[in-house]
């Protein structure tokens, strides 16, 4: 309990929020809207898993929103050309991994700071996509929900996200590869002396995040009849917010995936809670920013106490 105090406090905040909603806005728990909200959150969760790894290894990637948009648009075009979903999903994952490898090569290979590299790739990919599509929607028609019924499709998407979360959470705790990520984030030099190759680990976390982003893009694209090439605008902030609120330390080496899940659900509850509790919705972004700062300040105060 004490060791995971940070994660438990987020889970506690989420619990308080859910109870408050149960008392003041029981309509929040109605079946179909709830299922739709969870389906909306699932792709973000998949990306947040990858982002958690990148942040634990002491890097950051703010280009995921643009990667997401390009993977979604390319996947959508292939679906529109009649490709089966089983073939399009691997293509999208490979494309995402390629984008991740580009970031990773510049960051791990050349030692450039990840924030600036991914700021540059964020704008480059986003503008390149706008240039190519001119903002036109891509009609995927019958491929919606992978051609399944809506309900089965929604449960497939939620289930996939949860399986990925559980698998990565297990691997981060039990597999050597997962411990390498923590080691590199906590102290790259010590990790190197212990025989780990920090630059390879960093490179692979970016590739992994890209691949998950490609998968998430397809999980999102099949939810509607048309793919919007402007999708994923501001996604990077939602993902990073969830990871940081969930207790992953921005200075690396600390945090776990279950905290990320709690953080993501907490942030995902804000917007519907505001609506149900009668607060005007345009406060959402400001509250989101305030919650990120609050989480960061809490970590800062704790570190200060620990140093004394």
């Amino acid at each position: 309990m004490k060791r995971h105090f940070r994660e438990w406090s987020v889970a506690g905040a989420l619990g308080v929020m859910l109870i408050a909603l149960a008392i003041f806005a029981p309509r929040f728990y109605e079946g179909q809207p709830m299922l739709s909200r969870l389906t909306d959150t699932a792709p973000t969760l998949v990306i947040a898993c990858g982002m958690a790894l990148v942040i634990i290894s002491r890097q950051i990637d703010i280009s995921v929103g643009s990667q997401f948009a390009i993977c979604g648009a390319c996947g959508g075009m292939l679906l529109a050309h009649g490709w089966p979903a089983a073939a399009v999903i691997p293509v999208s994952i490979a494309l995402g991994a390629l984008f991740g490898a580009f970031n990773g090569a510049l960051i791990a290979g050349l030692g450039l700071p990840s924030i600036v590299v991914t700021l540059a790739t964020m704008v480059t990919w986003r503008e390149a996509l706008r240039w190519r599509t001119q903002g036109e929607l891509i009609n995927i028609g019958p491929a919606q929900w992978f051609g399944l019924s809506q309900k089965v499709g929604q449960w497939t998407i939620i289930g996939t996200a949860l399986v990925i979360l559980a698998a990565i959470a297990w691997a981060m705790k039990r597999l050597a590869a997962g411990r390498f990520v923590y080691a590199v984030g906590a102290d790259a030099e010590a990790a190197r002396l212990a025989g780990i190759r920090p630059r390879l680990v960093t490179f692979l976390t970016f590739v992994f995040l890209g691949a998950l982003t490609g998968l998430a893009a397809m999980m999102f694209s099949v939810q509607s009849l048309q793919v919007d090439p402007n999708a994923g605008n501001g996604l990077e902030l939602r993902v990073i917010a969830a990871v940081v609120v969930g207790g992953v330390s921005i200075s690396g080496g600390r945090g776990n995936l279950w905290g990320v899940l709690a953080g993501l659900l907490l942030l995902a509850c804000i917007s519907p809670a505001l609506t149900y509790l009668g607060v005007e919705a345009y406060w959402e972004k400001a509250i989101q920013g305030a919650i990120i700062l609050l989480a960061v300040v809490a970590d800062g105060l704790r570190n200060r106490k620990a140093q004394r």
Binding site: I115, L119, A120, I292
Partner: protein, 351 residues
Amino acid sequence: MSASTHQSGGAKAVFRSHEFILFVVLVAEWIFFYFAGTSKNYSGATVGFGTLDAQFDIMRHSCEIGLLALVMTPVILTGGIDLSVGSVLGFSAIVFGKLWRDGHLPIDIAMLGALATGALAGGLNASLITWLRLPPLIVTLGTYSLFRGLAEAVAHDGDTFTNFPASFINLGNERWLGVPEQLPILAVVAIAVWLLVHRTTFGRSFRAIGFAPEGARYAGLPVERRLALAYVLAGTVAALAGIIYTARLGQAKADDGTGYELFAITAVVLGGTSIFGGTGSVHGTLLGVAAVAVLTDGLSLAHWPREAGGVLTGLLLILTLTASVLPKMLSNRRSHRQTGPSTPQPSPPSP
């Protein structure tokens, strides 16, 4: 962490030539667009890049990003970063519009209110970064979201402030003594920041903090106060940029200045300031601003789509960064081969 290798005699000479190379690139860009972006219209008059009006337009368009890049320079010199300047620009513009239209304040007082808002925003960044010693990256990422959200909340999602008096709109569109009216403002800020960074002890302490924050602290520098100065200055000037932006477009919207932080950072890094802190110059930043502005405006005058400017700016930033570390990496590898594996490989830096 990798800044320690920058301060050698040879590096200084390379650094000087960096600005010279940038100047050559700028001139080359200018000559290229002079031919690619200029044409004659039906009546035989010259239109496009080659006209004085087009040059003044480029200056007008680059004024806000120029202001942001100028004050981003001291921040990056200290090894920090400020991702919130674009959001502060938008928030101050909205506060300015709100004070003027709904608060019925005279336009000068509304301007002061906007500047105070910017200073407070910078003060919030500064206090979180200095008191709690939090990484500037994550603090300003949080305030990036917070200030954009506050702008949206104050503007009630889509409300725009318009119908400003003509005397105010002139600030963004008319000429004063033959030059665009905002140019003297940019010049004053540029000279002030240049003096601060290159001719005072403040500038030296910014560099010292960028090289080695702990070392600077042990040397007796008031590290917290110097950092606070850099971030408050950034917030205040971002608000000034918001006012000028409002005057140029004649309206204040909640999404004003979205993405401007990227252009400002690009201009600073392009201008030769190390993203790791410690080295850099204000005149380099000004050249960087000009290089980005001529590129994006030149492309649109040469009838390229607007998106091309964004793509090329991003690629330009990646290329500059790569070019700035490759020589060091190659020389490291060479000495590595000669002396055996005594020099440790650089590990990836933190964000």
